[in-house]
Symmetry: D2
Subunit: 291 residues, 4 copies
Amino acid sequence: MAEEAWGRWGPDDERGALNLIGPEQVRRAASLVRTGRPISLAQPISDRLLVPSHRHKVMHFMGRDGGDYAAGSRRPGGFQFAEDTVVLPLHTGTHIDALCHAWYGDKLYNGFSGNSVRSTSGAGHCGIDKFPPIVTRGVLLDLVGLGGGPLAPSEIVGRAQVEAALERAGLRLEPGDAVLVRTGWLEAQQPGEQADFNREPGLDLEAALFLAEAGVAVVGADNFAVEVLPFAEGTVFPVHQRLIRDFGIPLIEGLVLKPLAEAGATAFLFVAAPLPVTGGTGSPLNPVAVL
Amino acid sequence: MAEEAWGRWGPDDERGALNLIGPEQVRRAASLVRTGRPISLAQPISDRLLVPSHRHKVMHFMGRDGGDYAAGSRRPGGFQFAEDTVVLPLHTGTHIDALCHAWYGDKLYNGFSGNSVRSTSGAGHCGIDKFPPIVTRGVLLDLVGLGGGPLAPSEIVGRAQVEAALERAGLRLEPGDAVLVRTGWLEAQQPGEQADFNREPGLDLEAALFLAEAGVAVVGADNFAVEVLPFAEGTVFPVHQRLIRDFGIPLIEGLVLKPLAEAGATAFLFVAAPLPVTGGTGSPLNPVAVL
Amino acid sequence: MAEEAWGRWGPDDERGALNLIGPEQVRRAASLVRTGRPISLAQPISDRLLVPSHRHKVMHFMGRDGGDYAAGSRRPGGFQFAEDTVVLPLHTGTHIDALCHAWYGDKLYNGFSGNSVRSTSGAGHCGIDKFPPIVTRGVLLDLVGLGGGPLAPSEIVGRAQVEAALERAGLRLEPGDAVLVRTGWLEAQQPGEQADFNREPGLDLEAALFLAEAGVAVVGADNFAVEVLPFAEGTVFPVHQRLIRDFGIPLIEGLVLKPLAEAGATAFLFVAAPLPVTGGTGSPLNPVAVL
Amino acid sequence: MAEEAWGRWGPDDERGALNLIGPEQVRRAASLVRTGRPISLAQPISDRLLVPSHRHKVMHFMGRDGGDYAAGSRRPGGFQFAEDTVVLPLHTGTHIDALCHAWYGDKLYNGFSGNSVRSTSGAGHCGIDKFPPIVTRGVLLDLVGLGGGPLAPSEIVGRAQVEAALERAGLRLEPGDAVLVRTGWLEAQQPGEQADFNREPGLDLEAALFLAEAGVAVVGADNFAVEVLPFAEGTVFPVHQRLIRDFGIPLIEGLVLKPLAEAGATAFLFVAAPLPVTGGTGSPLNPVAVL
């Protein structure tokens, strides 16, 4: 009933379901490349990113720029340059959750203590730095295509919808897949308007468990939390609790999936390499689909 | 003699030599996958990263962690989570330079004005957000393997060395390649000791121009600046000036190349997707070689 | 008609009207202490501070805290401690503007070039680090008390209102005074509601010039910009332009003045010591009135 | 033997020894003003501040500056401005420790639980926001003047030295005093050289307890930790543990005291107003002595 993947890859494992991606899965994924077209699935990173009001916004500061030269800065040997710094909340925009991001019962994935995640050094276990680069088959579940438009706020993507989307794509899930769920939430947002983060379409727990039991390595979506909001009565982030902590499956949030759907992609080479922030709970990400 | 690539891909181009990676190059790269082993080429990101003393260090802050629950924080619905923020100088650790990072004569690549790079909005032209994901053939130039050990401080990697390394690998450069130069600088650093950023082995201008004229799309290295330091008399960052600004070739710095060499890799699928920071002058990067 | 104070304290002066506070003004101010009650005039600093939507919010990060010890962190010699870092936009909450904060015609106060304010090193001239601590007589202009309630959005505080408030307080302005204007704007804001920064009561230019010509050293207010918004037709921050750049008078914004008024204060010892950020354009401030 | 001040000002008190500064102390302090000369006791804030290698450095970023206008930024209504942001570790440079900064036995000053200090909201008790502005008599203990030069690294300032310095100044301690100890450490540092934070002159525990029992409200010094380093055998920050947690006495570190000594000051009006960072463990400070 719980902790399904604990111990499956040994007591010290911190990679979780990413272990399901072996050499065979990588080779199979690479063999899917047909047209040779890479597509970025990331939102631009700026202070205009959609974030809930309780979350920090990105800050971007220039430490040196063209204006400084216009104002008279020296250019030894003719050389001019610009550099900058971002203040970057790691769960902002398009990002992946590390296995230390969500848990319950004071235990992280694979039984590591929640106490190993501290202010002083970040996550001693299951940090984002423990993930290998993700190179596997990506599978697009296009609920927008299936339904003829973006899902409604709070609309549930249940197991039936997942199966219908798979059938529409002519695909069966295979172990190690990265499943990307297009709900239409992100593309339905209007520039300049505050997004409603409390009512978004997404997976319910049954659908998420269906994916987990099929052996997927990663679940991503084009919404804020992968899972539907509000949650089912009496639960709080149930998909996060079960997939991340019990199955060791990382979630990718905030994906840009419309261009992928418009390109007609269903299964493709998927590459996503998180920044290895030591002890980090996640990472902004620029995932790539190669068609 | 200069501005070799300006106008080559139109007056509005901000991708530079990445245009040399077309569908054919992507397909060829994907076809190089043999064993199905992805290798990360990135350094871990933490405040222990090697940075010159005049550069900012990374800061990593936990906004919520396991300690807070140990101290009594509420866990509605059982849910526990951790989140964090990094203060991230964009030219730190393993990173890629955008085409707005370096220039001379007040003109960026393709003739854009240096004045378009400002504090208020970052780079109006040639920002890192203008780069597509990079999916191409990677070629390892293993100078360490060639010479039997890490190059000496300030040792020049000239055209002859580049050609010898290519010959040793049994490779010829092709348009769109990502060339990765292993000098041994990074792996020669000792933990806890201050690195000497002023004396590092690297490419001289002749070698860099040889690569540029061969049509490579990207040049990376395992050192701080790709190019040799100190610079040739009377010049300051000549390889940055010429490759970035005149040829539109992005540089990748701080690569971890020893594991790649130890795996015997010479040509491989190379995937690197910068974070699309709007107006950013570069991006930390977790480049992936897939063998 | 302009640049009234330029050269008045020498060509190198970067203190502006703060020069009007001499030893006599300091002694006179100290002699105003009657009851021995210090009152802070500062808003708390947190991410709940009122800021316009285009401005960054404060971030506050704990680097070590009690939760870490609860989770098991070592306590050598029994010692436990907590430490933290803020990301602090300098014009947030209760703060003072340096003389490099606002200008026109490419010239700062006293004729320094605007080009001396750069990304690389901050303000080469007229930075907040050039200000001495401010110790002088504070004078409260209580427009709320005068009018029987907070001023309306966009209500002008003109010269007549300033003179009426002075008369009500039984005071005459003296050189070196710090004049604090209570409009009621801040105290009229409701917790949890977005403040309207585009329509606030404040000084018009005539009133500001009246204060400047009376020889005040500092002008503060309990609103966002000291001056009324929207500005008079065809002008943009006219009070900032004239007082800061032409008279060298720093502005203090976001003051908490209700407790001061409720204590019946009219003239008092005023002490405000900006953080000497090298090249900073302003500083958060905890000004103190001592009654 | 411990927790001397707990309960003294009620079970809810979070001001500690600052309660010893009442109206009478404020009035007495104001009456000490003679020449009308304010002296700042703060170090400039920049990335050149002396910090131990394990602590973060200050970052200062310009969000808009004169260079942007030189590069062509618009100036509506002629208005030009500059603004900036600092990343500011709160225990950097000249700063004051809040009562939640140091403790032992899992209990803060006055018995509050260490668990109330968390990543999520900072210090729920004894944060720097709980301090009133400090306006009291400052007393300079000039050990440099007493000894004819800066104290040696690790030289102990014991009770005898404190009493000798008081006698030399012709002063007796009174309740509510702010005692400032000049060891010469800061002024002995050489620009560009790494300071030795592990060997500094400062108070030993006996001297600190002597001050505490005399009823001082605040203890400051011109060194990094007020107390001598290394600590007495078997102890870690004993002065922090006892003064902050047991007596509720805040410490001020990194003071610039040479100008004060050179002005011949011994007792003076001392004003220090921390930034009221909600839940902060300390604050950078620009303390002012008014002679």
